[in-house]
Symmetry: C2
């Protein structure tokens, strides 16, 4: 690949299954990638460790970790240790309303930082592993939300005003978890490096029955791919 001829992209990298797949696709399609992760008051650091492993596995050396305090808002089981992560919910239960693991305006905050970083790096694209199928309860995972963010972004920055507004790329938005797993396997993603569990054991072992684990397990099962997740002993 010729230096400087490829597109530059900021990739939001949580360390989970979805964002690892997005990163793999961005690299495979020749993007020059800046990965962006957040230390946002998560109850655990396993996500960030997974993000670093995934970036390293794909040779991405420009990995920015932004520290922001979403814990000040409370209200989510992902940042508030006083709220319990739900376990053992059926997928029907998950489809009902907005879950307690919802962090207010999280994707908007993450995308705003990505927008700033895209401007600084001269990136034309922001890639993210947002998914409307498995996370229908999160308002900020829907295609219409993404379109509105992109329209706003075009008016928000020097980059937008001077003629090259950033484009949001959400390759997974309408895929099932099984589709995502199949795509990732074809791209060489080692999902053992990734972390999805909302409520891991101290050593990072996945609980197996929070919403994130349930969706992830089903994804591997439906894709017919061995699940490489390390589950906590019970």
């Amino acid at each position: 690949m010729r230096e400087g001829s490829e597109k530059r992209a900021v990739v939001l990298l949580s360390g989970g299954l979805d964002s690892a797949t997005v990163l793999a696709e961005a690299v495979a399609t020749g993007r020059q990638v800046t990965a962006l992760s957040f230390r946002y008051g998560q109850r655990h650091e396993h996500e960030l460790q997974a993000a670093a492993r995934v970036a390293a596995a794909f040779g991405v050396t420009d990995h920015v970790i932004a520290t922001i305090d979403l814990g000040i808002f409370g209200g989510s089981a992902l940042t508030d240790a006083g709220l319990a992560v739900p376990h053992g919910r059926s997928e029907a239960d998950m489809g009902e309303g907005i879950p307690i693991t919802y962090v207010p305006a999280r994707n908007t905050i993450f995308l705003s930082f990505a927008l700033a970083l895209a401007e600084v790096r001269g990136a034309e694209e922001i890639h993210l592993g947002i998914n409307a199928v498995d996370y229908s309860g999160y308002p900020d995972c829907r295609p219409e939300y993404l379109a509105a963010f992109q329209a706003m972004a075009a008016l928000a920055t020097r980059q937008g005003v001077e003629g090259a507004p950033v484009r949001l790329v959400a390759p997974l938005v309408l895929l099932s978890k099984a589709d995502i797993v199949r795509r990732g396997v074809s791209l060489g993603v080692d999902y053992a490096l990734t972390h999805s569990c909302y409520d891991p054991a101290p050593d990072g072992g996945a609980c197996g029955d929070c919403d994130a684990c349930v969706l992830r397990r089903r994804g591997f099962a439906e894709a017919g791919v061995d699940d490489p997740t390390r589950y906590a002993a019970r």
Copy 2:
């Protein structure tokens, strides 16, 4: 005023002249106010001290300070000590292009946090002292940007989805600095509490000739109001 009957509003409070005026107006019109300020890697803390003084002066006890690291993006003289704040520029100079004090996507990031806080507090409004007249060089200070952010916000949160999208209130957007000063004086704002200078002396004294000082001084002069700013000795 009856408890619970007034509107709730998140007010972005930088500690400068504009946001102090907006806070005064929100309080005067009966809003129940949550003030939101940011520790964002500013080169100095005088802004935050001013924000606390202003909140206290208006009896606002719910004052959230969010710590976020915009310094990781570099590129702005407001957060990067390696870049000089310009001094002595004419207003004609300021009208040319986007200034070095521009922080990438700053208003988008600030508004994203305000959106999260509005949802947590059940606030229907976000008030901000954005101004398109004196800051025409900042893309994210224009009315069309605000409209696009509001449209995005309506799709972004539980609050928006469940029927009461947040409204952006930008009462200063088309006012001159002199208009703003007049309005603030009529609302009882003590501008001696506020801080606008981009490049203050260690004791907080204003430099008098950065872009922010130039616009502020002119505002007082044109409004025919004594300038209460404490300027650094030279």
